[in-house]
């Protein structure tokens, strides 16, 4: 068991916020890339 002592609150808050921001950034990057890829494929398909 990990012992965080009396500073458990700040430690977990810092880690929670940071990991959420990192994960959010990764997800947003992948979604935007997938959208851009689909849009380009669509335009190229329309051009024949």
């Amino acid at each position: 068991m990990i012992e965080l002592g009396k500073y458990a609150g700040p430690v977990l808050a810092a880690w929670g916020v940071s990991l959420a921001l990192l994960a959010g950034m990764v997800v947003q990057t992948l979604l935007a890339d997938a959208r851009a890829r689909r849009a380009l494929e669509q335009v190229e398909r329309n051009r024949g």
Partner: protein
């Protein structure tokens, strides 16, 4: 072979596609291992368990500054040599840098409250970091505000040059003013041990993980920008008939 070959979008897309899985795997491995190792480190005799915040704060702060330096290099390449991929790379890096700055500011505040007794202090390094964050926001906003992509790249390039002053200040404010709450660099090439090896090695791993994560995101986001640019060019061609 010249480095400028990668300024060609086709060459960039081909090369980045080949290296992306390896960089992403390296990022996941280093970041995962570094963070787990860091979280499992024992409590510090002075800081208690708040020492674990260092594994996020230090790499994020390091990346916040270095990403701006990378954007500066890319902007200079755009301004001098007019390579579109470099301008798009700078644009792609900015949101990642902004998130890194937010993580550094938030984790610093959360650590500062129990250790310094305050969430925030108008200390030279903290203030320079806050201004750097505002520059990131301004840079992102300027890209969105200007319709012509070449004009946007020119204007944001100049903004990047100005903001570099604060990127440098964020790093060296402690040395310049020698005052304020923020301590000196945790890791330094100068003699004298600042961080115990118990914490130093997981910290190095986290720093490497953050760097590789940035490279992964930069490659994906630059590829996204190239695709958007290509889509816009094709649509414009269709409209012109």
């Amino acid at each position: 072979m010249s480095i400028w070959e990668y300024a060609n979008p086709v060459k960039f897309m081909r090369t980045s596609s080949a290296i992306l899985p390896w960089v992403a795997a390296g990022a996941a491995l280093c970041l995962g291992a570094g963070l787990v190792w860091g979280f499992l480190t024992p409590q510090d005799y002075k800081q208690g368990s708040t020492v674990k915040i260092m594994f996020l704060h230090v790499p994020a702060a390091m990346m916040a500054i270095n990403i701006w330096v990378m954007m500066l290099a890319a902007s200079l390449i755009w301004l001098i040599r007019r390579h579109h991929v470099s301008a798009l790379a700078a644009k792609a890096a900015a949101p990642v840098g902004a998130v890194m700055t937010v993580i550094a500011l938030l984790t610093g505040a959360i650590w500062g409250q129990p250790m310094w007794g305050t969430w925030w202090e108008w200390d030279p390094r903290l203030t320079a970091f806050l201004i750097l964050f505002l520059f990131y926001l301004g840079y992102i906003a300027l890209w969105s505000a200007v319709d012509n992509p070449d004009s946007a790249a020119d204007l944001t390039g100049v903004l990047c040059l100005v903001g570099s002053v604060f990127a440098v200040l964020s790093r060296y404010a402690v040395n310049f003013w020698n005052q304020g709450l923020h301590q000196g660099a945790s890791l330094s090439v100068k003699a004298g041990e600042r961080v115990d090896p118990t914490y130093k090695y997981p910290l190095y791993l986290c720093m490497l993980g953050f760097f590789l994560l940035f490279v992964t995101l930069l490659l994906i986001r630059t590829r996204t920008e190239i695709r958007r640019r290509r889509t816009a060019a094709l649509l414009a061609r269709e409209v012109r008939g």
